[in-house]
Assembly symmetry: C2
Homo-oligomer: 228 residues x 2
Amino acid sequence: MAEVRSVDTRERILDAAEHLFMAHGYEGTSMRQITSEAGVNLAAVNYHFGSKESLMQEVFRRRLDWLNEERMRVLNELEREAAGKPLKPSQIVDGFFGTLLRMADDEERGGKTFLRLLGRTLTDPSEFIRTFLAHEYAVVVDRYKEALFCALPDVPKAEIVWRFHFMLGATSYAIAGTDALRLVTDWQIEEEDAIDRLDRLVPRLMSFLLGGLRAPLPQFSDAVADSK
Amino acid sequence: MAEVRSVDTRERILDAAEHLFMAHGYEGTSMRQITSEAGVNLAAVNYHFGSKESLMQEVFRRRLDWLNEERMRVLNELEREAAGKPLKPSQIVDGFFGTLLRMADDEERGGKTFLRLLGRTLTDPSEFIRTFLAHEYAVVVDRYKEALFCALPDVPKAEIVWRFHFMLGATSYAIAGTDALRLVTDWQIEEEDAIDRLDRLVPRLMSFLLGGLRAPLPQFSDAVADSK
DNA sequence: CTATGATTCAAACGAACGTATGAATTATAG
DNA sequence: CTATAATTCATACGTTCGTTTGAATCATAG
């Protein structure tokens, strides 16, 4: 069985697809763009992956499998060290979001390209993509949610779930890239941040997330005891 | 000049486009879907708007013109009342994000449909959309940024800009809709929140945003005085 | 070396896309 | 009523899309 060529072809396609999906979105990227950038024949995608949808799923699976495992490993390690005592919220947030953000430095795992793709895809309108991602994330997110419940026993669970959601949004935006960032700034300020974008982004985002997670509980206009 | 028919047609097209762009994205929505849902002829879009791109821009302009004016009006009013004294961050945040979120109740202004469209579009990969939105937002965002600089004189400007960006992300996610929300929860908790989703979402999000905005400043690993 | 299965390739498929056209229809002005 | 401009309509154009096909090329096993 020939292996050398095909493994190479598969990987080249995945790399090109990852980059182009990030830059132009799923619907905005054609098979011809992908195979052209990968330097392979047009039919190669359908031969190796079956369809464009399956290719998209494989692009994510290649990265998320590792991320999910790593997140699980980190949380298990934290809980082992804590020996039964509840974790600090900052540890949990770092385990989930910090682990993600540190992928940006790891070119082997897709680096910034994959992070930006992920950030943009989480709000992608395509039904099959959201369904796929929700399924990929379900188990890990559930474990982290439970950890937060234990770490913040005085905060209603519904509140924690919402704040988890808000944290995902802030993070998604942060990694979706500097293009959307033009919304907020014309960069009259941060020329000095050209290189250090990342090692500064992480602590910046972490401060913000933790501040939001530990904010005072909201007061609803209708006075209802919102416990549990 | 005939006006009755064409005004109706224009509006019907805009409504259908708003809904379909929200549900399936810009690239994922065809002219035939739009004209079919609007109950008008296929050629009507090109006749009234020129092209699909122009239609997309008009969909946003119809809503954002009002939103921008309202945000300006609110901020001017706040500054008038304050009479020179710096505003409270909570006032500024409510002026920018609260004004946006309250559109959800206003069906005349697009309601939840437009909010979800906006939330999803802010991370849309299409170049011309991001460029257009950045241009539409520029002036207002700049005024609110300046207001935050004055309200938080001890916080470095770069930090405020970043946190503004994070707040946009969290808000975008919150309004992008309950579909993406499945990522975080299977709704084992919040059956009771079916109706009140919105009058509870606003205070919830506001608490989170303010907590993040006022969080302790991050400590960078390389010790550099990050003033200015 | 030959046979076999895996992979690559050029070419084509039908479908769907955004847009353009010119005639038919409708509303307004004189 | 008639003339004129605005709008609607059915239809078609040229592209591009994702996918398929069958032959050509390659690597490996016997």
